[in-house]
């Protein structure tokens, strides 16, 4: 993952998309599959992945088939929970009476 410039200000939606893809899987998933789910090009994907791994939101694991897989960490799960909670509050708080 070396060579790409680090992310200065990550896009919230891309981070959420990556976290959601990881959260939906019970087991670590292959990087290519995660990239497809995130709907970004490989360069952008590696920068985001690096950013997430650096902050402890995701972890890389080597599997027996030789492919590198990505897993959601506890911190990543908690981060996704917070994001979902906020978006839930935005939608729920649609009116003063709600």
């Amino acid at each position: 993952m070396a060579g790409s410039p680090p992310l200065e200000r990550p896009d919230l939606y891309v981070v959420a998309r990556l976290l959601e893809s990881l959260w939906r899987q019970d087991a670590p998933i292959m990087k290519t599959r995660l990239q497809v789910a995130a709907n970004v090009n490989y360069d952008v994907f590696t920068r985001y992945l690096e950013w997430m791994v650096g902050r402890g939101l995701a972890a890389l694991e080597n599997s027996a088939d030789g492919h590198e897989r990505v897993a959601l960490t506890q911190k990543g799960r908690e981060a996704y929970r917070k994001l979902v909670q906020w978006i839930h509050e935005i939608v729920q708080g649609r009116s003063p009476g709600a």
Binding site: W23, R24, Y80, R81, V91, Q92, G93, S95
Partner: protein
């Protein structure tokens, strides 16, 4: 058929039957026992066969609900025929219940409706055609309806038994619950917006018809008076009729195009949003669907939240259509006003100018009262929605800032 649509359909049928019964009462009162059961049957049959009753609701996927219901029915020895979004359970040789699932803001809702089997249908039609059998046909339909309702209510709740997704951890369930809750609220709002605008569109088309009639009448009378004076006996109507038809056509077509341009894109937008949210909702409630969706639910909710002001606006723009009480008062005042004006015009054409002034004066007073009543209502509604909207804007800004800070802090 459910809710307001069912009530409207039945009211319409009853009105038609009441009008149909007037000449029968006047001319054939002596043989009432021949036609009265037929009229009763015409009222009862649609009431029982069109009625769709909501039985239960829950946060389960529609296929899951239908499968659980079918399994429960089979265990009870009931013959089941699965359909695309329904399950048909045969109660006896004459009747069946069609259970249907649909997605609403409360989750999946299961509803039931009485269906006649082919044998039942033939029997009811034969009884109706025989005329003398229409009374028994109505009675039979009522009995079948009561049995079907009891049957549906006893089996319906079984469709929602069992855990939604036992494999998930408590934390995953919490996140899942929030995603479903958010989707459910957004879906409810988009559907409310669609319904408000759809009703407003229907009302606007009714107003259009009234406007076209008013234009036709005004041009007809105006041209007639301009060409012939107040001379109802020997005046020539050809040109006024042609002119009135032309004016009504131009105004009607023009207003219809304007209405379509105003409502159709909005309705399409709300329909698309409801479909997107409904599909996401269904996917979230389906425990077997573990594939990541094409659009993340979080993103969909974030996008949906930016539509909330538009959905609130839809209700504001729907105006009186959303408030049946006030709209009834305005409609009553407008009808009285139109009736007085019509009487005034006729009085004027007959040369009774004192009556004309009285009618027009009373109509003007009613029109002014209706306008005052409407403006007062509109000011109050606008203020209420504005307050909602600013509170929502502040709330949204605050939470979005928290989300941005959260990422920056990481």
């Amino acid at each position: 058929m459910r809710g307001e649509r069912y009530q409207n359909a039945i009211v319409l049928i009853l009105i038609v039957l009441v009008f149909a019964s007037v000449p029968l009462i006047l001319n054939l009162a002596g043989v009432w026992f021949l036609w009265a059961p037929l009229l009763v049957a015409f009222a009862v049959l649609p009431s029982v066969f069109l009625r769709e009753v909501d039985l239960a609701a829950g946060l389960h996927g529609p296929p899951q609900v239908r499968d659980a219901l079918a399994a429960d029915l089979r265990n009870a020895g009931v013959a089941v025929t699965p359909g695309a979004d329904s399950v048909e359970a045969r109660i006896d040789v004459l009747s069946a219940v069609s259970f249907r699932t649909r997605i609403t803001d409360q989750g999946t809702v299961l509803s039931g409706r009485l269906r006649a089997t082919p044998t039942g249908r033939i029997l009811v039609v034969a009884l109706m055609v025989s005329v003398v059998g229409s009374g028994p046909a109505a009675l039979l339909s009522l009995v079948l309806f009561l049995r079907a309702t009891r049957f549906a209510r006893s089996h319906g709740p079984s469709a929602f038994r069992g855990a939604i997704s036992a494999a998930r951890t408590p934390s995953a369930n919490e996140i899942h619950g929030m995603l479903i809750g958010g989707l459910s609220t957004a879906l409810g709002m988009s559907r409310d917006a669609f319904n408000a605008q759809e009703k407003a569109y229907t009302d606007a088309k009714s107003y259009l018809m009234m406007t076209v009639f008013t234009v036709w009448l005004a041009v007809l009378v105006g041209l007639f008076v301009a060409l012939n004076g107040f001379n109802l006996e020997t005046g020539v109507w050809d040109l006024p009729i042609g002119g009135a038809m032309g004016a009504a056509l131009v105004v009607g077509v023009g207003l219809f195009v304007l209405l379509r341009r105003r409502f159709v894109p909005r309705l399409a937008r709300y329909r698309t949003w409801s479909a997107r949210l409904s599909a996401a909702f269904e996917r979230e409630m389906s425990p077997t669907d573990r594939e990541p969706p094409a659009t993340s639910t979080f993103e969909l909710l974030a996008e949906a939240s930016s539509q909330v002001p538009d959905w609130l606006d839809a209700q504001r723009l729907a105006g009186l259509s959303g408030d049946s009480g006030t709209s009834f008062i305005i409609l009553f005042l407008s009808s009285a006003c139109a009736s007085l004006l019509l009487n005034g015009i006729i009085a004027g054409l007959r040369g009774a100018f004192v009556a004309l002034a009285t009618y027009v004066g009373t109509a003007a007073f009613l029109a002014a009262f209706a306008a005052w009543f409407y403006l007062r209502w509109k000011r109050r509604e606008d203020a209420r929605l504005e307050q909602w909207r600013s509170a929502w804007d502040a709330h949204e800004k605050n939470l979005r800032a928290r989300m941005d800070r959260f990422l920056e802090e990481m």
